[in-house]
């Protein structure tokens, strides 16, 4: 078989690529990815040996970490560690996550026992890992849920939030999705989100009055946050030592910085940020740009549904990690928060089940309606959307973070201890 070549320069074409690696000529079609070994993440969810690519990064599917393999699950992924509270009241969600889970804590399965060595000393039930489900709610208008889902045995997603009390004044929402089967990616993702949040929560330079200057400052801050997250992943890699040589920890990155009624998103990989206005007449937007094989296919004209459900759709083309592609700059985009709505930041554990921005907008509207008053509470809505993903299959870890713009329902709750993974 002769390999297809670029019509412009004659260089060999890479399956899945939307433009020529040699001359950057844009193709009008995409080669089908029938050569599994080179175009898709392994179907068992394993990660092909990752490598860095020289120069600007074309859509190259040869060494692609997979955040959520669609195919068969690895034997390690058959279990889930327990039901997530489906109670959508944020009280229950908060209290559920706040329940003491350390050694010696009371067993949540039986009335008599206590956790001893990861298991109950009376009924033997496995102690839930606080890393498997946690929430953050830095302000009444900003909250998020990070959940293991129903199929994975480890929560490799991570969430970190920061916000000032006044709605719309300042918030940072960060989500990272650890790459399956790379060493310690659950450690790396958590380190990454926290490092990024710590960068993002430093105040922007004061007196940058104009909107364009705010956006510029936010974009710079997002780039700094990516760099900090990257460094945190690198530290995890060093700490993992020998084990990490084969498949060093890596993760995606998405963050939204809200400042003075403007939201700026930045992302690397396929975790997403959306702007979902309350008004049906206003268009919902996906702010992030996927670095994925599916996105490459869509760019080439393959319909979203088809592209996102194809084998290797979740193969990502950029990520954070010591083996990352050279171009690490986040895709950025800003949106004016002049009308009421939701800023939503999520991992593919959610958007697997509702990808298109307008579909997601409809889902949010329906969910808010169903929840009544509580629907305008970000934590309640985040939990409800997490439940939606789990009830839809929960095939991957699910993370949902929300910032409410406009009227917010505040839950009268005592000081809650936030889940601490």
């Amino acid at each position: 078989m002769t390999a297809p070549t670029c019509p412009n320069c004659g260089a060999e074409r890479i399956p899945g690529a939307t433009f020529c690696e040699a001359c950057a000529f844009e193709f009008t079609d995409v080669l089908p990815d029938d050569t599994d070994a080179t175009t898709a993440g392994p179907p068992d969810g394993g990660v092909a040996p990752a490598q860095s690519f020289p120069g600007a990064v074309p859509v190259e599917a040869a060494a692609t970490p997979v955040t959520a393999p669609r195919g068969e699950e690895s034997p390690l992924d058959v279990g889930w560690t327990g039901p997530v509270a489906s109670d959508t009241g944020s009280d229950a969600a908060a209290n559920g996550a706040a329940a003491a889970t350390g050694e010696g804590a009371a067993c949540r399965q039986c009335s008599d026992g206590h956790y001893l060595d990861g298991y109950c000393d009376t009924c033997g039930a496995k102690q839930p890992d606080p890393r498997d489900h946690y929430i953050e709610e830095p302000a009444p208008w900003v909250a998020g849920v990070c959940d293991i889902g129903r199929r994975h045995r480890r929560n490799e997603d991570a969430l970190a939030l920061a916000a000032d009390t006044a709605s719309g004044s300042f918030a940072a929402l960060v989500v990272c999705d650890g790459v399956s089967n790379s060493t310690d990616s659950h450690v790396a993702s958590l380190a990454a989100v926290r490092a990024a949040r710590d960068v993002l929560r430093k105040p922007l330079p004061q007196g940058v009055g104009t909107k364009s200057s705010i956006v510029a400052a936010a974009e710079q801050r997002l780039a700094d946050a990516v760099a900090a997250a990257e460094e945190a992943v690198a530290i995890t890699t060093r700490e993992a030592g020998e084990e990490a040589v084969e498949s060093p920890p890596s993760c995606t990155f998405v963050a939204v910085l809200v400042a003075e009624d403007t939201a700026v998103s930045g992302n690397v990989g396929d975790s997403r940020a959306y702007w979902l206005p309350d008004a049906d007449t206003s268009s919902a937007l996906q702010l992030s740009v996927d670095d994925s094989f599916a996105a490459a296919q869509m760019n080439a004209g393959v319909p979203r549904k088809e592209a996102e459900s194809s084998t290797g759709a979740h193969a990502i083309t950029r990520w954070l990690g010591v083996d990352h592609p050279e171009d690490g700059a986040p895709h950025t985009r800003e949106v004016d928060l002049s009308e009421d709505g939701w800023v939503l930041v999520c991992s593919d554990g959610l958007w697997n089940y509702c990808s298109d921005a307008s579909d997601l907008q409809r889902l949010v509207h329906e969910t808010v309606e169903r929840l009544g008053d509580a629907g305008r509470n970000p934590l309640a809505l985040a939990q409800a959307l997490t439940d939606f993903a789990n009830e839809s299959g929960g095939a991957d870890n699910v993370t949902v973070a929300l910032a409410r713009v406009g009227e917010t329902h505040t839950v009268e709750a005592p000081e809650t201890t936030k889940g601490t993974p």
Binding site: P75, V78, G79, W80, T81, G82, C110, D112, G113, D117, G118, Y119, C120, D121, T122, C123, G124, A125, K126, R150
Partner: protein, 426 residues
């Protein structure tokens, strides 16, 4: 100080609705030290030699040689005594009527003990219960020696007391001392002596000829002296509502511990395992749980090693329910191997018992199954032992014929070997 470690071999995946969890727990002891030398407890050793009439003059001489070899292996400072057994158990050394019934080993007591055995005469019957009772009484005079071990040599069936009397003596001695038993020649009863050894956490074996006795005794005492950690307890915690189906030692020899259960606390059972040298022992633990939904994981057992009240090590037996047949149908290699071994031992013992009782059809089918199992396991040694008792037409199907005129020693060797297991590294 001795270090214990425990590792688990199991397939934790259960099918939907599955309830029974099987695991092999390998317990390893390192740094055991020498018996009586660790400062925690003194050690005591009693040599019990059969002096019944059936031993004959040459048997007595060999018995004396064997006991001498044993005495030479006992570490200085160890409390010891020698008992002669026929239809009664008699303390031979220290000299009866003296101030003590046990003395510490040193150069002069060793020589005196060896000299005392000149008085051995082949005379009288066999009542092993009385020997055990005498040993128990003698051990009781040295309460500071809590590591107690005896070697019992017999050459005949227990004809001079009732089975009930023997049972009572075994019962009274259980937990007081450990006892390794050796049968000389072909007139003793394997199952009878096994009863003693098993209850007293010891081994049973056959010594075909008197000349082999000295080497065997030497090795037994050497092993006993290498056991520096006394009174080790295996503990098995199971969840509320769960049922422990069995706890068996499966290596180095098969021993069902289930009935030796003592209560540590409402969820934890204790099983005495006696004294340990630097060694590994494998245990097969089977627990029945109530089934949980697919995807759930729970602990099925905590298997612990305890010295007194202190838990030295722990290993966790888990259960995870899964729909994935590739996971749930797999049987752990170690579990499979030892399950096969246990069935093989049972078939051999039942088959020989049936044969002795004249139930030839039953014996043929049981021994045939044994041949089949040994063949499947690739157990050459057991196959060749079985071959001395049956003619094998087809090992794969277990088709055999009982041999005529089998040497009784071969049958006994097969019987005593049935519970020994060789370990294969995973």
């Amino acid at each position: 100080m001795a270090q214990f470690t425990a590792e688990i071999f199991q397939n934790e995946f259960l099918p939907d609705g599955g309830t029974d969890v099987h695991a092999i727990v390998r317990v390893t002891c390192r740094g055991a030290g020498q018996a009586g030398q660790t400062g925690l407890t003194d050690a005591a050793e009693i040599i019990i030699v059969d002096t019944s009439g059936s031993m004959g003059e040459s048997g007595i001489v060999q018995g004396r040689n064997a006991a001498t070899a044993a005495l030479n292996e006992i570490t200085d400072g160890t409390w010891f005594a020698v008992i002669a057994g026929n239809h009664v158990g008699t303390l031979v050394f220290p000299y009866p009527g003296g101030p003590q019934q046990m003395v510490r080993m040193d150069q002069s007591t060793r020589q005196a003990a060896i000299a005392s055995m000149q008085s051995f005469r082949a005379d009288g019957g066999t009542a092993m219960g009385t020997w055990l009772t005498k040993a128990r009484e003698v051990f009781a005079t040295v309460p500071q020696a809590s590591q107690r071990h005896a070697i019992l040599l017999t050459d005949g069936a227990n004809e001079h007391e009732t089975p009930d009397q023997l049972t009572r003596s075994i019962h009274d001695a259980t937990g007081v001392f450990q006892c390794d038993c050796r049968g000389l020649g072909d007139r003793w009863q394997v199952d009878e002596v096994r009863r003693i050894a098993s209850a007293l956490l010891g081994t049973v074996d056959l010594i075909p000829a008197p000349q082999a006795m000295a080497a065997e005794f030497q090795s037994l005492v050497r092993k006993s002296m290498a056991r520096g950690v006394a009174n080790v307890e295996l503990r098995v915690w199971t969840p509320q509502g769960a049922q422990t189906l069995f706890v068996k030692q499966v290596a180095p020899n098969l021993e069902d511990l289930t009935s030796r259960r003592t209560v540590v606390n409402p969820l934890t059972a204790g099983y005495p395992t006696g004294a340990w040298a630097d060694e590994s022992r494998d245990y097969h633990v089977a627990v029945r749980l109530s089934a949980k939904s697919v995807g759930q994981e729970q602990l099925a057992a905590r298997v612990q090693v305890a010295l007194g009240d202190e838990v030295q090590t722990q290993a966790l037996v888990k259960a995870t329910w899964s729909n994935d047949e590739a996971l749930t149908t797999r049987i752990d290699d170690q579990v499979a191997r030892y399950t096969g071994k246990a069935e093989l031992a049972q078939m051999i013992q039942d088959g020989l018992a049936a044969k002795a009782a004249g139930r030839d059809d039953d014996a043929t089918s049981k021994l045939g199954r044994a041949v089949q199992l040994a063949n499947e396991a690739g157990d050459q040694e057991m196959t060749s032992r079985l071959r001395k008792v049956v003619d094998i037409d087809n090992a794969e199907t277990g088709t055999v014929r009982l041999k005529k005129g089998v040497d009784r020693l071969d049958e006994m060797a097969l019987d005593t070997a049935s519970t020994k297991t060789t370990r294969v590294r995973k």
